[in-house]
Structures are given as C-alpha cells and as structure tokens.
C-alpha cells in the first residue's frame, strides 16, 4: 500500500496558501498520508530565540496559525498527521497556539505532541566540542551565545505518532526526519534498515524545500517554462513499503515535476553525493537514476543507505556585528557615470569620517550579487548605458552608531549627491553568526509529550 507525504512549506516566509491544495489532494486520494512543514533555516532559530527573550510566549514560526488554520480540521478528520519544526525556539508556546486554534475550530480532541531536547544551550559546553566542517575560521571570541540546537533525528517524532499525535510540534530537527518519521511509523521500518531509511531521507530531501522540486527557483522564461508560476503546487511523495519513491504534486496547481526539477533538487545543498549525512542514515545518491512515469510524476531509483553517524550536528548562533545598508537610484542619460561617481564619493566619505567599518558598494543593474567587495565587475563594466542604476552601500562593524552613520551617508546623497539622485532607503540590522559542532548523540536526550487541545489550552 502506498503512503503519501505532502509538504506545506519549505522555509519561514514561504507561500502561506501552499498547504491547501496539497491537503485537498491527500484527502481526495484517500490513501494513508502525512503532511510536513520545514520552516527553520540555519539562523531562524536564533532570531526566534531573540523573540522569545522579548516575549516568553513567542519564538515560534510567526505564520504558524495562518499555515494551519485552513487545513487543520481536514487533516484531523482524514487522520493525516501534521509534523513541523515550526516550534522553532519555543515548541511549547507553538503547541499552545495550535491548541487554541483547534478549540476555535471545534476540535478539542486533537492531540498535540511537543518534542524537546534539541535546545542544548544550557546542557552542553560548546568549547569542548569538535568544530564541524569549514567553520573553524569563524571568530567567536567574546561573541555572546544566542542559541545552540542539535539536529535531532526521526525517533522522537515516531514516538509522538505512536502516541497518537495529530500535530507534532518540534524545534530543530533534521529536515529529512520530518518525512522519515511518518514513513517509519506507517511501514514499521526498522531504525537500522538503511536502504529504507535512505528512501525516507531522499523523500525528505526532495520535499523539504517545498516548491523547489515542483518548479520554484527553476523557471527561466523561454528556457525552462512552467505552467502558472503564481500557483505552484507543493510536492507530494508516493512511497511504498518496499521503498518505491515517486514525486508528484496536486493536479489543480501550477508548476511542474520532471527530470530537470528532480535533478536540481536532488543535488541542492549536497556536497559529496555518496555521503549525505542525516541523523538517521547516510544517504548515497551516486548510483541513483530518475524516470518520468507520468505527467508530473518522477520515480527515483537506486538510492543507497549506510549506517547513521554516532554524532549529531549542533548549530550555535552568536550575536554578531551590525550591518548597515543604504540605497539610492539614478536614471536616464549619463546614469552610469553618476552611479560610479556616487559609489566613489560614498567610499571617500567613510574614509574621511574614519568610521572604522568594512564597506562595499554595488551598482545594482550593472554588477552587485556576482561581484566581490572590491567591485571589479562594475568598475570594469564596458557594456551599454543602463536606463537606471541603483547604488547600494553596505557597511559592517561592531559599533552600532558607526555603522548607522555609514548607512546614513547614503541618505545624505539626496541633497549632496549627483543630479537626479532619489529613492533613498537605509536600515541597520544585527547580524547572527553561526558555527556548527559535533556532539555524541547520547548527550542529546529527547522528550515527547502528547496532550489533547482541551487539556493544553
């Protein structure tokens, strides 16, 4: 029997109406199914921790109610559990929000699980842990710790489902674990059946970024067109007990599932394709191949799995420096010369005032994202005269006031700048530094508690 896994969100900030057609499709197909949301980027949990410091009832995914309200009753009635790392830095508060929502929707018997244990800020001394991957060069001397969370695996999520949870509220989990858990629970796969867990990990990896496997960040007009990009359907995986895996999407939506979208997402954020480490299994896609088995249906074959590592990844976030940014526009005849002159004067002003910040200037429309801090690509630009250019200054430093002063130099160009300078914007934001460590998994005990909405609210 086939089990369906639907994804309703690939990051905090994704389209909030995305889950609706996915759930409609799962319910219509009538097969056993689960929904998951992946809303917790590397530094999202640190930002959430700062929110929680400000208000103890905050610190979870801010769009949580908006995401769940249209689907919660349908999922509950169809016995489709919802899993998510939308608890962020405060899973208990997120669970209370879900409980209040459930009562409002007339679902007092809805069972909500809270997963704990990923937050290791108070329990593990980071300075005694080995540093993960290429993070050794990050300078964290004297930096203040904001959050430290372990990427936990699927086991506590499976326990929550076994206890009858309709909604599983987690903080930091590995992204694939959110898909592995309902599969392990439904099919009774063993936690040392590496080939099956590899299928679950691949399912989670392909779905975890939502529309990225169904046409999002894929469409390239005239080269890679997709139907109805304003209405991209989020992905659904069809998984069999034997480990068959097909990726598809709801019928009444835009977007596309073909070999090209699958290949792009399979390799997304992967380094060695034979060695994709998750807390539950090491996934090997080096012998994998893909097959179009119908319209918007692709099968993935040849997945390999090896035993899980003894360690978990812990990502710690620290208070970083301040980032100041300012932008102004120029347009029309001689725009490029005015933009270059503006850039030079801004850098000269920072030097004159000795603000002690690291800075760069971009000419948006000529060269910005592809250029380095030196700006060689826009300095050497010899192409046609652009109709408009937006000039951006970015400055960074430890002293908030100095960085703010640097950003305000852009504002001053409204009066002191070249002819026809307009559209100033400037802002100041605190930066978060992250660094990852490895910790033995037995040092990260997890907890699971399940209560009904009635008991919780």
């Amino acid at each position: 029997m086939t089990f369906l896994v639907g994804n309703g969100g690939g990051f905090s900030g994704d389209r909030v109406d995305a889950p609706i057609p996915v759930v409609r499709s799962l319910v219509a197909r009538g097969l056993p199914a689960a929904m998951f949301f992946e809303t917790l980027g590397e530094r999202t949990v640190a930002l959430a921790q700062l929110e929680r410091r400000r208000d103890p009832e905050l610190g979870y995914e801010p769009m949580l109610e908006r995401l769940l309200e249209p689907i919660l009753a349908d999922c509950f009635r169809a016995r489709i559990p919802i899993l998510g790392n939308f608890g962020a830095a405060n899973p208990p508060a997120a669970a209370r929000l879900v409980a209040r929502l459930a009562l409002r929707l007339g679902l007092p018997e809805l069972k909500i699980a809270v997963i704990g244990g990923d937050d290791v800020m108070g329990s593990i001394a980071l300075d005694q842990l080995p540093v993960h991957e290429a993070d050794g060069s990050i300078d964290i001397k004297s930096a203040r710790l904001v959050a430290a969370n372990a990427y936990i695996g699927a086991e506590p999520l499976v326990e929550a489902l076994r206890l009858g949870a309709d909604v599983v509220v987690a903080g930091r989990t590995s992204d694939p674990a959110l898909a592995i858990a309902p599969l392990v629970h439904h099919f009774g796969w063993s936690f040392d059946d590496w080939e099956k867990l590899a299928v679950g990990a691949a399912c989670g990896h392909l779905l975890e970024c939502g529309s990225q496997v169904t046409g999002g960040v894929f469409w390239d007009p005239g080269f890679k067109d997709i139907p109805d990009p304003a209405n991209i359907g989020f992905p659904i995986a069809e998984v069999t007990a034997e480990g068959g895996l097909v990726i598809t999407k709801p019928e009444d939506t835009g977007g596309i599932v073909d070999l090209r979208t699958i290949k792009e997402q399979l390799l997304y954020e992967l380094h060695d394709p034979s060695h994709y480490i998750t807390p539950d299994v090491v996934l090997d896609i080096s012998r994998c191949h893909v097959e179009q088995v119908g319209k918007d249906r692709v099968a993935i074959h040849g997945l390999g799995g090896r035993p899980r590592p003894d360690t978990l990844k812990v990502t710690a976030s620290f208070e970083g420096s301040w980032l100041g940014e300012g932008e102004v526009s120029v347009a029309g005849p001689n725009a490029l010369a005015r933009a270059r002159a503006t850039a030079d004067v801004l850098l000269r002003r920072l030097e004159m005032r000795q603000l002690g910040v690291r800075a760069r200037v971009d000419l948006i429309g000529i060269a910005s994202v592809l250029v380095s801090d030196v700006g060689a690509l826009w300095r050497g630009y010899e192409g046609p005269e652009p109709p408009e250019v937006r000039i951006r200054l970015a400055a960074e430093g430890a002293d908030r006031d100095m960085v703010d002063q640097a950003a305000r130099e852009v504002l001053a160009m409204l009066c002191c700048g070249t002819a026809g300078t307009g559209g100033a914007r400037w802002r100041l934001t605190p930066r978060i530094l992250t660094r990852s460590y490895l910790v033995l998994r037995e040092r990260v005990p997890t907890t699971v508690s399940v209560r009904s909405a009635r008991e919780m609210a």
């Binding site: 991957e133 954020e269 992967l270 060695d272 394709p273 970083g320 800075a359 801090d373």
Partner: protein
C-alpha cells in the same frame, strides 16, 4: 559537423546552494549527449578561475553519469557566507547563473531548437 561556442545557459541548467562559506552548484545538460562534452570542457580549474575574484580556494567536481549531472563544490567562494558577507546575496543563490555564463563549444545539432 559544425561546432558553435555558446554560454552553458544555452545547453544546461544549474542550481546553487550554500553551507557556510562553501557553495555547491549543480550543472545539468538538457541533452544527455552533451554530458561527455561538458565533462571534458567544464573542468574544476575553469570553474575555480570563474570564481577567483570572490576568493574561491578550491573546486571539486562530482560526476553523476547515471543522473547526467555534475555537482561543483567550491570552497571559500561566499565572502564569508551568510555569517560575514556584505553581498546582497550572502547565500550565493545567484552564482548558478555565473556558472551558466561560462562558454563551451558544442556541435550545432545538439543545441535546443
């Protein structure tokens, strides 16, 4: 057989992801017949040179012949990544199209219509 020099964008697609100061960019030809040609022409050295202005120190290419795809892993290319970069795109998602601007020489009949 006539050959033509084109940007990779004419014959392949790509996606970039990040981990810290390391970027990975997939490269996938539209036509499987182009896979060996790209394997020959889109070398680690050429890709490293393409990103030298951003401080890249190393480029490793993983070949996936069954998927007909390549995965380029480029170290130290993100100016510190989201942690420290002053770039508007600290994740380097737009860098996939820098890779697609690299030129290759291909038989004219393998160009998409």
């Amino acid at each position: 057989m006539s050959e033509v020099e084109v940007p990779l964008h004419a014959v392949a697609h790509a996606r970039a992801g990040d981990k810290g100061n390391r970027s990975n960019i997939s490269l996938i030809p539209y036509d499987a017949a182009l896979y060996p040609l790209l394997a020959k022409q889109v070398t680690e050295a050429r890709v490293l040179a393409l990103f030298a202005h951003r401080g890249a120190t190393r480029c490793t290419r993983y070949d996936l012949p069954l998927l007909q795809a390549f995965n380029f892993v480029i170290d130290d290319v993100l100016e510190g990544g989201v942690n420290g970069s002053l770039n508007l795109d600290g994740h380097g998602k737009t860098q996939s199209f820098r890779l697609l601007s690299l030129t290759v020489t291909v038989p004219r009949e393998l160009l998409p219509a």
